[in-house]
């Protein structure tokens, strides 16, 4: 397999999993107004759940990693485990945001929850192997009797199918009466309550759905990469997704898809193609974060509605 072909596959898998995560975050923030700065934890939960479902028990796997679980389940079930884990964690995070606080305070609360989760996982080694993270051995190999090239393309296909399924579920939430109600909650929570909307239930349902998408994203990603560690889910990762949502167009599913493409692919991958300025390791990544942060600020300053602003359906005004 040529280097370009492999690179394309990596790009497509990242794009697919980023799309799922961005859709989930957009549902929570862009549509419902939940400022979930801790969203990355749902992705991490999905990844870890997938790993502990897939791996055999710690002892039989050689004992060089410590973790709970280890059920040795097949791929589809492990994937489902990731979805459920993301959903549950999403609801738990959501509970911290329910207090009648200003939106930026809620954001900080949810961010702190994500930091706490990272600290606990890192410190408590028997839980999920602490700072070292977990590695999947053997790695998932669909159609393992075929050649590796085909296997990788099959994985891309699996990611694509999950994206289509995820998008269809997403649309059920962002369109129609419920989509309208969620946006009302976003625009003015109290006015929405005053006309009978149960804010608590709506927010938690949205966090469950958004978390499910995040969990699926994490599970698919870890299935491809083969490992996951606390370093992979620093709080800045939520910022990258948030930028994609803002740049693309908050509340607009298609806009957010475009934003994800622009940010995840063009920006973060594009930085890899910058000429090597100095011999320092990680310089390109650092530049990537600088550009990302700047883009976010520029968009909030100049075009907060994003590339594709949210568009509401028209019902024909003329009587």
């Amino acid at each position: 397999m040529g280097a370009w072909e492999f690179y394309l596959i990596v790009l497509l898998v990242y794009l697919g999993t980023d799309l799922l995560a961005a859709w989930g975050l957009n549902l929570e923030f862009g549509v419902t107004g939940v400022a979930n700065l801790g969203y990355i934890v749902t992705i991490a939960a999905g990844a870890y759940a997938y790993v502990i479902c897939t791996l055999d028990s710690p002892a039989s796997a050689g004992g060089f990693q410590q973790y709970v679980g280890g059920f040795g389940l097949p791929f589809p079930i492990a994937l489902a485990g990731g979805v459920v884990a993301g959903s549950v964690v999403g609801v738990l995070i959501g509970i911290t945001g329910l207090k009648r606080l200003r939106q930026d305070y809620q954001a900080i609360a949810m961010l702190v929850v994500s930091l706490m989760a990272a600290t606990v996982v890192t410190a408590d080694t028997p839980f999920l192997n602490g700072n070292a993270g977990l590695v999947i051995l053997p790695q998932f190999a669909p159609l393992s009797d075929q050649d590796p090239e085909l296997q990788r393309w099959v994985y891309v296909g699996i990611v694509a199918v999950c994206c289509v399924a995820g998008y269809l579920v997403l649309r059920r939430f962002t369109t129609g009466p419920i989509g309208r109600t969620l946006r009302a909650v976003r625009d003015d929570e109290y006015a929405a309550a005053a006309i009978g909307k149960n804010i608590v239930v709506l927010r938690l349902v949205v966090q469950a759905a958004g978390g499910a998408l995040g969990g699926l994203s994490g599970a698919l990603l870890v299935g491809f990469i083969g490992g996951w560690s606390p370093g992979a889910w620093a709080y800045v990762e939520t910022l990258a997704l948030l930028t994609a949502v803002i740049v693309g167009g908050m509340g607009n599913d298609r806009g957010v898809s475009i934003g994800t493409f622009v940010i995840a692919i063009l920006l973060l991958q594009g930085v890899q193609f910058l000429p090597q300025i100095s011999s320092r390791l990680g310089l390109k990544e650092d530049l990537g974060w600088i550009v990302l942060g700047t883009v976010t600020i520029l968009f909030i300053w100049f075009r907060p509605q994003g590339i594709l602003p949210e568009r509401r359906p028209k019902y024909g005004a003329s009587p």
């Binding site: 059920r172 009466p177 419920i178 946006r183 009302a184 003015d188 949210e310």
Partner: protein, 256 residues
């Protein structure tokens, strides 16, 4: 249904501390069914706080609120709304990101599209009901002369238009009791008059209204019964024309 002939709402010894003050200090009054009841008093009398507590925005510290004879004390806003108690806010709060007509549609009660079945079933499940709501919303917009603004983003509306949207939205929710916090504030005299006529018509059709209002003339025109508050307490209850002459009411407005 108990209390179907009596007052639609009864408040008993309601107390609310707010910002370190006894904003509502043991008030008791009743709201008449199918009529407009006014809640008046000088600034700082606690009228808005009382309305906030009755409307479920703030929980009371003690006391009771009875709706149709049923104890609904401390119930949250959305639960009260589903019982038919709908409130409007002093500053018109429209859903800016939705269009005008969507602001109305979102208020329609018991929408099938908001249930779990609705998520699963999709348009086939809730489409029919949605069309009914759409018709109702269009009619209401026409009645308020805002049909041409139906697809306009609500955040782009003028202040008076937003106030109208808020009133329409409250009506879409099919209320039994409407709680109104100075609904005419900031409206032009002609719009005010239109709103007054609307309120009288609604009361005639059986809707009950509790109106917090500053203008005593408006209150005299609209309200069959008036409750006067001052310093967190109820001073007097009765018809405006009688109360106007009462000494303690006059004093409250001078001092308070």
């Amino acid at each position: 249904m108990s209390g179907a002939r009596g007052p639609i709402l009864e408040v008993e010894d309601l107390v609310k501390h707010y910002g370190g003050v006894r904003a509502v200090d043991g008030i008791s009054f009743s709201v008449e069914r199918g009529a407009i009841t006014g809640l008046i008093g000088p600034n700082g009398a606690g009228k808005s706080t009382a309305l906030n507590v009755i409307g479920g925005f703030l929980p009371p510290d003690s006391g009771r609120v009875l709706l149709d004879g049923e104890d609904v004390t401390g119930e949250p806003m959305h639960r009260l709304a589903r019982r038919g108690v709908v409130r409007t806010f002093q500053m018109a709060r429209v859903f800016g990101g939705l269009t005008t007509i969507e602001n109305l549609l979102v208020a329609a009660p018991a929408q099938r599209g908001e249930t779990a079945m609705g998520l699963v079933g999709g348009k086939r499940f809730w489409g029919g009901q949605e069309t009914e709501h759409l018709e109702r919303a269009k009619e209401m917009l026409s009645a308020f002369g805002m049909r041409d603004k139906a697809d306009e983003q609500a955040r782009n509306l003028s202040g008076g238009q937003k106030r109208a949207v808020e009133t329409m939205r409250a009506l879409m929710a099919r209320p039994k009791l409407l709680l109104l916090d100075e609904p005419m504030a900031g409206l032009s005299p002609s719009l005010s008059k239109q709103l007054e006529d609307l309120f009288l018509e609604l009361a005639h059709d059986g809707l009950s209204l509790l109106l917090v209002e500053h203008s005593l003339d408006t209150v005299e025109r609209l309200c069959s019964k008036v409750v006067v508050m001052a310093q967190g307490r109820v001073l007097a209850e009765g018809r405006m024309s009688e109360l106007r002459t009462r000494r303690e009411v006059q004093d409250a407005y001078v001092i308070g």
